[in-house]
């Protein structure tokens, strides 16, 4: 107890002494350790490298340098909360925790503290309703869009009829994996397919029984909501039971290079969604290589440039940077506050011309954010793995989700949240 109080005093004194810096602070709640590190590392590298590029090339955003504060969460909610509390005092503009569990924790805290949260393609889907969730954003797409896009794709494959088909969902047994279930259940009812739910417990290394069940029931399609080591194991198990890979479809967090390479040739033909364009030849990557990596400022070991999740991290950074620029434009100040950042995010507009100007033409769909819609257009690309060349190829362009299915669910879920927490729906 005494030792503890001493330590407390010592560290407290040194924290108070830390100076307040006047730049744009962006915390990066990354995870480079633990069972989810394979996904966390490239995303964080892409996120940080893009801001390093802006600092090196343009001197920051609107003349203000960007300062990244990295904090290791290990995909663990307790550490995520600790990271949030330790970084929010530095003037953090936006949080991107890359974890649905941490997002659930942070949404009410960040709302109370007045700091925006951006959960791109993950987190709490109901956040799309910006009238209830004023401070949280999940553009350009969310889990329910992903579920709907996959079903739309399967419908196209089957001449518009999924009647009598059997679809199995292999999901991470957490808030993340359970998110798409209401949408899939409602789609199963309207489209006439049957849905089997197979939960995989954290961290996902043990899936023998689930795949034994799939081997027995031979569903027409297997969908996967997986992350981290779970993806690699599932793809290996599917290859082991010789499940036809082209009928095995992951969501956009289950479709990166490191998920499929361990299974070797067995993973050939595996499909997954992607929320960005399937390419690794964006001109911006050359800038990152010459102006960030060659200068020795690469985040991580610099080996991930161009990988699926690196591109996605970079895309997330681009959306944040554009929001900052928008906020600076609205308020006419370069040193913005989190509240101004929120206004910038709500007024964000991404056009093809702007994306081409940034050297990432067609990386994502064109969209604009509004108070009513914090969720963007909800589009996804279907991609397929080619094991011999070791590349993803896109099978479709950006496909629409069925908003007639997802919108009523968003309204119902956000209304339930508002009732439970006494929120009055209104724009800020």
């Amino acid at each position: 107890m005494k030792l503890h109080t001493l330590l407390t005093g010592a560290v407290m004194a040194s924290l108070v002494a830390a100076p307040a810096a006047a730049d744009l602070v962006l915390p990066d709640l990354s995870y480079r350790t633990g069972p989810y590190a394979a996904g966390g590392i490239p995303f964080s590298d892409g996120y940080q490298d893009y801001f390093s590029l802006l600092n090196a090339r343009d001197g920051g955003i609107g003349g203000e340098p960007v300062r990244i504060v990295e904090c290791e969460t290990g995909y663990n909610t307790e550490k995520g909360v600790e990271c949030y509390e330790s970084t929010k005092g530095e003037g953090a503009l936006v949080y991107q925790p890359l974890s649905t569990g941490i997002t659930y924790q942070l949404i009410p805290k960040a709302e109370a503290d007045g700091i925006p949260i951006h959960t791109m393609g993950y987190g709490r889907t109901a956040v799309k309703n910006g009238e209830v969730f004023n401070w949280a954003f999940n553009f350009p797409a969310n889990y329910w869009d992903a579920a709907s896009v996959i079903v739309n794709y399967l419908k196209d494959e089957n001449d518009g009829d999924l009647n009598g088909k059997n679809i199995a969902l292999v999901y991470h047994n957490s808030a993340y994996g359970k998110e798409p279930i209401p949408t899939l259940e409602s789609l199963a009812e309207s489209e006439g397919f049957t849905l089997d739910l197979l939960a995989v417990d954290h961290p996902g290394q043990e899936q023998t029984s689930q795949w034994l069940q799939i081997r027995r029931s031979r569903p027409d399609y297997v969908l996967m909501w997986g992350w981290g080591v779970m993806n690699q194991v599932a793809i290996q198990e599917a290859a082991n039971i010789r499940y036809p890979m082209e009928n095995f479809i992951g969501n956009w967090w289950a479709g990166a290079e490191h998920d499929v390479t361990p299974a070797g040739a067995g993973a050939n033909g595996y499909k997954s969604l992607n929320m960005t364009k399937v390419a690794s030849d964006f001109p911006v990557l050359d800038d990152i290589k010459t102006m960030v990596h060659d200068e020795g400022n690469a985040a991580g070991d610099g080996s991930n440039v161009g990988s699926v999740l690196y591109i996605r991290g970079m895309y997330a950074a681009m959306l944040a940077a554009e929001s900052i620029a928008k906020a600076q434009e609205i308020h006419g100040e370069s040193d913005i506050t989190p509240a101004m950042m929120r206004d910038g995010m709500e007024a964000l507009e991404i056009t093809e011309a702007r994306m081409a100007e940034l050297g990432m033409s067609g990386i994502g769909p064109e969209f604009s954010v509004s108070c009513e819609n914090h969720g963007g257009p909800g589009m996804g690309v279907m991609q397929q793995w080619d094991a011999s060349s070791g590349t993803w190829t896109s099978l479709t362009g950006f496909m629409d989700s069925d908003t007639s299915v997802t919108d009523p669910l968003v309204v119902a879920a956000s209304k339930a949240y508002a009732d439970e927490n006494g929120v009055t729906a209104a724009c800020l």
């Binding site: 109080t5 407290m12 350790t33 600790e82 509390e85 005092g89 659930y104 006494g422």
Partner: protein, 358 residues
Amino acid sequence: MLYREAGDFKTSYSLDNQTFPLKLDRIVFYLTLAVAFLVVPLVINDYWASAILVPFLIYAIAAIGLNILTGYCGQVSLGTGGFMAVGAYACYKLMTAFPDVSILLHIVGAGFVTMVVCTVFGLPSLRIKGFYLAVATLAAQFFLVWLFNKVPWFYNNNASGQISAPERTVFGVPLTGPNTEAWAMYLVCLTFCVASAFIARNLTRGSLGRRWMAIRDMDIAAEIIGVNPLTAKLSAFALSGFFVGISGALFFSVYLGAAEVGESFGIDKSFLVLFMIIIGGLGSIFGCFAGAAFLVVLPVVLKFIGVDILGWAPDLVAHLRLVIVGGLIMFFLIKEPHGLAQLWRVMKEKLRLWPFPH
């Protein structure tokens, strides 16, 4: 010289049997309490509450619970995470079912619910012991986590399977939910922690504690001198469950605000609390605090030194932390198997004689 009992006369049995027989100990204890209750709430901020003090206090309660069972009664348990989950879910169900009742009562209520569950899972301890009991409690851990994932009633049919604590106030001050002030979180946890330590300390000094220790030291001998193993073991499970349940309820409602059973109350939690009592000291209330402080504060201090002062990469520090904590656990097991509490006792013995050890 500094720390001695000369002149400290005891004139009655109750004085002789008090928890802190030495005057200096008593002064330090009351000073610590005064600082904890009167000074810390004035200076605490969000970071200090959420990153260090609140988890420390909550883990200390859990460690007290496990120490009663393992340290005092000798029944190894690997189900602490599962029992904390029982406390958390009981608190959630009570909070949402009776929104008008005080949250403090719900937390105590969650303790009683866990008490019942823990007693039921303690029944096998009457037949099996040692490794086999560890495996039985491990089964409890996995069963409870599975149950809270499987049955939607426990999380009020919420689509995400998460439980989240709605805002509840005591005398108009929010204790749960996002608007909770750091000092309120801290004070409620401190109150529960001090109360738990007080109850546990006095129970273990009384006849119940002596029965537990008799069972721990040799169950057959204890039975021969008239200790009923049924009541002794089950009461240890019950009281252990009560404290672990309270810690689980606080962990979910006050500290995290939202929880997912597999992630927040997994097998890691069971091992973490077990490490706390092993490092702190089996069979010692002080050891619960020492162990909890060690395992909660050490990672934060390492991170602070590594990332903020030395400027190392966060992942390097995270990996180093695993190495250092693991190394220290081994060091303690080899050099001081009775934990920090024994180290403290030895130091006190030396101080009594200092500076004339002969």
